[in-house]
Amino acid sequence: MKQMFLTAAVLACATVAKAEVVAPGDVQFGEYGAIEASLSGVPGNADSGLEIMVTRGKGNCIACHAVSALEDYPFHGEVGPSLDGVGARWSEAELRGLVANAKMTFDGTVMPAFYQTTGFNRPGNAFTGKAAEGELDPLLTAQEIEDVVAYLMTLNEY
């Protein structure tokens, strides 16, 4: 009986931990822009991350970055560096920080912050050209950021 109670308690804790999403305003960046803690509490799914990387209206990461492993998906941009080998040259925490808000790592970068909802000049209502109504949603959800980071961690070859 005691054993069962303990199991139930552990399960309950796990469930709570799973639902623990860090809000965009609560993200803790390290001195050099890394984010140690998962934003969603749920491990990222690299397959889902790939889809986000190549989908316009989601991450659309290849709009600016070339990725050799994604050559089946047409039209990679040149605005940012190639992402080949990012999983080898950055840690998971650093990649999480770069995707969430690259300006915390590279001051003044043109890369948009994918997990930021405040501090913008003339924020709009998505792509309507009209003023935003109420609070903005981040460009990607906490779980989508984790999924992209999981995919980026698989890019460990140059």
Binding site: H76, G77, F120, N121, R122, G124, F127, G129, K130
Partner: protein
């Protein structure tokens, strides 16, 4: 043998024409075999962020480039034809047409090259469109045309076409200085949730691809521009709206003080390039 030579000469000339059509970033633009267009030159002194300036034409595909080399291939010229008719049509309470004062469109050569421009009587900066409407309301007693819409864009295309080959020469000092300063500030101000300024793409990243788009310097010497994407003439400030919208920002309105200032500033970044409207772009 003679026949063979003739045939190969013909083949060679056909090949030469084909090669000319295969234009690239190094290509030169001559319209109708006679109007020489400056598509690249040194940046004007007041532009810190660029060494050289390039017309958007050099960033377009060979096929798109070729369409602008001959007026018969340039769909924008259809609207120029329409505007010639409008130019000669009496409208409004005063019994005037454009021709009543200006006689021919060619007499307005140079107007495109210097606008937006300070107007002493009105004591305001006027875009070319505002000046056209000034004529319509003040000289003709006619209704103003809607900005960046059919009639207006066609007339702007006509006025651009008669200035083709002339260097853009927009004044930035004296009475234009305040607008210049505001426009410059807006050019470098990042907007929207994507947090991008004009400079983010068109100064820092021109020549790079963003997905399938080849980023230009955003020069406006070719406006109004016929876009293959929407098969019509497009106005400068509507293009500004599109760009600002794409940063996920609240845009400014066409003919707002902000966009008039931005148009003056962006035009001045192209001082030295030739007027080439109506241009053809993707």
């Amino acid at each position: 043998m003679k026949k063979f030579l003739k045939a190969s000469a013909l083949a060679a000339s056909v090949f030469a024409i084909a090669s000319a059509a295969q234009a690239d970033e190094e290509a030169d633009l001559v319209v109708n075999g006679e109007i020489e267009i400056t598509v690249r030159t040194s940046a004007p002194e007041h532009v810190d962020g660029l060494r050289d300036i390039y017309s958007g034409w050099v960033f377009r595909s060979d096929e798109t480039q070729a369409m602008q080399m001959d007026d018969f291939d340039n769909p924008g010229m259809i609207f120029v034809e329409e505007a010639i008719e409008a130019f000669n049509t009496v409208e409004g309470s005063e019994g005037n047409s454009c021709a009543s004062c200006h006689d021919t469109p060619e007499n307005l050569a140079g107007a495109r090259a210097t606008h937006p421009k300070w107007n002493d009587n009105a004591e305001e900066i006027r875009t070319l469109g505002m000046q056209i409407n000034g004529c319509r309301t003040e000289q003709m007693g006619a209704e103003p045309w809607a900005a960046d819409k059919g009639d207006m864009l066609a007339m702007e295309a006509l006025l651009a076409s008669v200035s083709r080959g002339m260097p853009v020469n927009v004044q930035i000092d004296g009475p234009a200085e305040a607008a210049y300063e505001l426009g410059r500030e807006l050019y470098y101000t990042r907007t929207g949730q994507l947090d991008l300024s004009c400079a983010s793409c068109h100064e820092q990243n021109y020549g790079n691809y963003i997905r399938a788009d080849h980023l230009s310097q955003g020069q406006i010497n070719g406006f109004p521009t016929y876009r293959l994407k929407n098969a019509k003439l497009n106005g400068v400030q509507s293009r500004f709206r599109g760009c600002v919208r794409d940063t996920r920002a609240e845009t400014y309105a066409v003919n707002s003080p902000e966009f008039i200032a931005l148009e003056l500033y962006v035009a001045s970044r192209g001082n030295g390039l030739s007027v080439e409207g109506p241009s053809v772009r993707n």
